[in-house]
Amino acid sequence: MELVCEAHGLSKQYGHTYALQNLTMQVPKGSIYGLVGRNGAGKTTLIRILCGLQSPTAGSYTLYGTPFRDPAIQQVRRRMGAVVESPAIYQDLSALNNLKLQAQVLGLPSNRDLPHLLELVGLENPGKKTVRHFSLGMRQRLGIAMALVGSPDFLVLDEPVNGLDPQGIVEIRELLLRLNREHQITILLSSHILDELARLATHYGFLDRGRMVQEVSAGEVEAACRKCTHVEVSDVAILARVLDGMGLDYTIDSSHTANIYAHPHVTELVQALAEAGCQVSAMHQQDESLESYYMSLVGGEGHG
């Protein structure tokens, strides 16, 4: 698996407080990697370190295989674009002038593609209006356009949908999916909105108190979170025999409870169980979400 970014034993200490502790992470090329964690879990600190804004207290990371202490990392960073916390844009300049400025910072020979970038993020006609008069959604979009100026192939976004209205969230989601699928841009993003993240991410990193609790692919999370019917019966052995006979996938939880991973025909199942001498005392649908998966990983303690 080719990795865009890899961190080993990364720690960051502010005074006596650890923002990151011995964190290990692998971002595969072409993925949309979602960082999940509560406030203060270390998501933004991790992003700041990866962007070169802060140095780790201990540990190391590589970008495209180049260690962060290698002088060549400066060249590698040109392949990155990022929006850390708020979009980094000059309030007194227009959208196009902001892009021109970023093009100059990058030393791009031509500004020809800049209007196309505005179009890509849905800011076709911002005119000469300064960014100060933009809505939050427009600023977020412009921030992403700024990050895309150097045609990066690794995009780092910290809370890109923070404060956006539902329509804005959908637009940003579609933009990110398009960038990932059509432009093969690897995306590392953090978000509090787990349902939204679940619609985007191909990989997850679950952070808690500065530690990486688990790294997992979206497929694995989906498998763990798949819908099931939870049943409580008088005899789970009879239930198992009946479910085997019906060809349904299931797991036994206890001597009286089981989960059925399918949509059983309820009347048929209850009749079959009654005929076999097994009483059904409860039956309900369970739909585990990314949020409940995360909560089951890190627990509820200290979360508010």
């Binding site: 962007c51 804004l53 400066q74 990155m80 674009g81 980094a88 844009i89 007194d92 970023q102 910072v105």
Partner: protein, 278 residues
């Protein structure tokens, strides 16, 4: 670094704070000789104005103006988050620092020129050319311009090390007033006369007699040398000496300013390299 400089100058050209400072400087430069001329018309005797009088009077004002400008210009990079854009696309911290230093220095020098050119353009027809010989004028101008670079360097250091634009502006303003007050204090102590005329009453002759008495605050010996050195080394002391065309160690002033530039730039680079940015 060329890319950063191009970007910073692109922003300077569009900076409202820069143009506000320039308009202030050009306006003051044009207004100062007119004001002196009108004053001379109203009070012809005993005043006799000449062009030299207000020529370098702009330095105390620009000391404050530079503090505001550098804090606002560099502080915007922090507050708008664009300092991050430069770092995360692979620019080194020393490049970002030096690019800001060069941009702010050029802006400050332009503000000086913004005062001097209109002053000469408006003042020469009113008062005639400068009375001081060209060599002395150029020496004072040179010292002033090197001092400008030193001030830009001091304020750039502050603005680069204090990410909060408001705090940075307040600290720079307080420092600029501190420099001016300190310089004024040092210069006034150095200019106390060695003696003063004391009037004493002679009861025998029943007349008032004039007597030369030593001035109690007059500085002598090592103390005077230390005060003179401080006055030469500190930007505030240099400003006071240049404004009144009275710098006994004029050739040394640019050397001290250059040393201050090197020290503050070195300290600023060291601090900025170690700084965690948000």
């Amino acid at each position: 670094m060329g890319n950063l400089l191009r970007a910073d100058f692109f922003r300077l050209w569009r900076s409202k704070s820069f143009w506000a400072c320039m308009i202030f400087q050009v306006g003051t430069g044009a207004f100062a000789p007119v004001s002196c001329y009108l004053y001379e018309l109203r009070h012809p005797i005993p005043y006799s104005q000449h062009l030299d009088a207000e020529f370098l009077n702009f330095i105390p004002f620009v000391c404050i103006l530079f503090a505001l400008f550098c804090a606002l210009f560099i502080g915007t990079d922090y507050s708008d988050g664009s300092m991050r854009n430069k770092l995360l696309v692979g620019h080194r911290r020393w490049e970002i620092y030096l690019s800001h230093l060069v941009t702010c220095t050029v802006a400050c020098l332009l503000m000086c020129v913004g005062y001097l050119l209109p002053y000469l353009a408006v003042g020469t027809p009113l008062f005639g050319p400068l009375e001081t010989d060209m060599g002395t004028v150029l020496a004072y101008l040179g010292a002033t311009l090197v001092l400008t670079v030193a001030l830009a360097s001091v304020y750039t250091m502050l603005a680069m090390l204090i990410p909060n634009r408001t705090v940075s502006a307040v600290v720079a303003l307080v420092l600029s007033f501190g420099l001016l007050l300190g310089g004024s204090y040092l210069y006034s102590y150095l200019n106390y006369p060695p003696t003063y005329t004391q009037m004493t009453y002679n009861p025998v002759l029943e007349v008032w007699e004039e007597q030369e008495a030593p001035y109690p605050f007059y500085l002598e010996g090592t103390k005077r040398e230390i005060f003179q050195l401080l006055c030469d080394v500190t930007p505030g002391g240099q400003i006071m000496q240049c404004v009144v065309w009275d710098a006994p160690n004029l050739p040394l002033l640019p050397v001290y300013s250059a040393a201050l530039t090197v020290v503050t730039t070195g300290a600023g680079l060291w601090g900025f390299r170690r700084k965690d940015l948000n």
